[in-house]
Symmetry: C2
Subunit: 333 residues, 2 copies
């Protein structure tokens, strides 16, 4: 287990989206966040107190969590001084990057010298099976998106929270580093070997009570050419009873892919449902989750109403307004 | 490079499909196959001479190629005696299994003792990039299937052969262990880490002459719940100008998935083309390749004619009848 509470390291994040790991921890486990540490030029801000390593340790923080991602998942040389110094100050390190803490000789040496722990939550620690497609008991809902980083994890976390509040049996199933850092458990799907992707999701969402819901965090998008294979494996591995469509209406192009327009919600609905029905012929699309963070209250309301009328599905921003209407749609299944 | 010619090891293959690696090498590089070595109960037969290790070495074979796959890619304990003895007889070993030769202590020790080489063609040896979706020069055709093991590699190899015969510029691009063992080059896609799947295929099919075709070996099926993510990454990473649909008409259920029916060719056409157009809006489905190995000549002809009339696409068995009509369809693009 990773020692809490955390100091969130935001590095030299080029934009707020790059710090979505830190944002997720701060939003869903604020009690675990003592402060933030930022380098010159950092464009992200969690609204936490900016602290030095010494101040954060004094305030109780015990793990420095790398809350920022570079494209390709590299540990920036700019960060090294902070990471090495953190261990001298008494911190363990935790990271969800592709480039592992445990592959950096200087970090490994420092950890050994100081007795600190290096947590690479991205590293699969299980020998996942090849998916067998056998029907499992219990129910599963999966968030699928028009793009990466449109709010699939937030949607799943909010849904899980509100399902529990409604007295339903629910478990959030993390499939990415942030989710794993938040819950301490899950499958780091984008680091799994191709042949075992769907099997890892079957493993993550096993047989359960008939009235239990696994709320499965989505990844990528069927329409994102860099990561669509990961999304596809989630759709088949999770064998979903229900899909929630996730969208961010102000995005001008697919994340990281200039020139690639976002698909329509209708296109995602049709293709994702066609694919989901291969694994579960009874699967239904039950609602739409809109990330309205860049819209005014009024515009957010109007946009959701327009989508709801167009698609005939309950449409909400679960983070802004709560996920109760999606919970009701799942209860009605 | 792997030393040729080969002795093909078929082990205790439970059925002919399990030995598709050996079958591919034998069919496309027969000049490299000195003989076969089978254990008790082996249900596969390449039609090659059954040889002992001593006989095969005497006949010139220099590498024992594991031409059989177990589900999950495990090196069976039953095989160990043969593999160890092969190195004593002077053979190198080559394998495309998930379970690596280089992870077996006894094989590694024997290789060191005897000076032999262990070739794990499944191991990625390149740090593949994340796909960027940027439009590349040259043309690409990808084989997509209704199921696994329906003839996608054969289709691509036959297409490449017949395109060259027609004076076209063509390169077969291997994406699986058999293709890599046949050509000595390629991407072992099912062993690539999820996030880098599509990028590995972009790497495999780079910018080229405007009139050059990459003929990309397909993997899995969008409708196979165990491996659909791999197929999806191929469709987006290869940025295809053309798709060939591949089918085996006597299959009673999806390979390895009792209870899962094969999709229609129409369903594969529609979903694969929808997804391919994300990466290349001009992509077209140009033909159908039917694996008619379990049909009589008459039934094969009738089946292809029926599909051709139904889909309005040239429909042939490239292995049985040649791929010329598919080549013509590509030339007409």
């Amino acid at each position: 287990m990773i020692k809490t509470p955390y100091l969130l390291f935001l590095g030299d994040a080029p934009d707020p989206l790059a710090a979505k790991v830190a944002q997720g921890i701060k939003d869903w486990r604020p009690e675990n966040c003592v402060g933030q540490l930022r380098l010159d030029g950092c464009k992200a801000d969690m609204g936490l107190a900016d602290m030095t390593l010494a101040e954060a340790y004094e305030a109780g923080a015990r793990t420095l969590v790398i809350g920022v991602a570079n494209r390709g998942g590299v540990i920036s040389p700019l960060w090294k001084d902070v990471l090495l110094s953190a261990m001298d100050h008494g911190f363990d390190l935790a990271s969800g990057l592709h480039n592992l803490l445990s592959e950096e000789d200087d970090l490994v040496a420092k950890a050994a010298e100081t007795g600190r722990e290096l947590h690479d939550v991205r590293v699969p620690t299980v020998d996942y099976p090849i998916a067998n497609g056998v029907k499992r008991t219990g129910k599963r809902v999966l968030a699928v998106g028009t793009d990466c980083s449109v709010g699939k994890m937030y949607t799943a976390l909010a849904l899980d929270r509100d399902m529990r509040a409604a007295g339903m049996k629910s478990t959030f199933r993390a499939t990415g580093q942030t989710g794993i850092l938040i819950t301490g458990d899950g499958v780091p799907l984008d680091a799994v070997i191709a042949d075992f992707m769907a099997g890892s999701i079957e493993w993550l969402t096993p047989d359960n009570d008939d009235d239990h819901w696994d709320v499965v965090e989505g990844q990528g998008s069927l329409f994102h050419v860099s990561f669509s294979g990961v999304t596809m494996a989630l759709i088949h591995g999770s064998q979903p009873d229900a899909l929630i469509l996730c969208h961010e209406p102000t995005r001008e192009h697919m994340r990281g892919l200039p020139g690639y327009k976002l698909p329509s919600l209708e296109a995602v609905r049709d293709t994702a449902l066609t694919m989901a029905k291969v694994a579960n012929p009874d699967c239904q699309v039950v609602g739409v989750s809109v990330n309205t963070q860049h819209l005014s209250d009024e515009d957010a309301k109007a946009y959701c109403a327009e989508v709801e009328a167009r698609l005939g599905l309950p449409t909400i921003d679960p983070y802004r307004h709560g996920a109760e209407r999606l919970v009701a749609a799942l209860q009605a299944l």
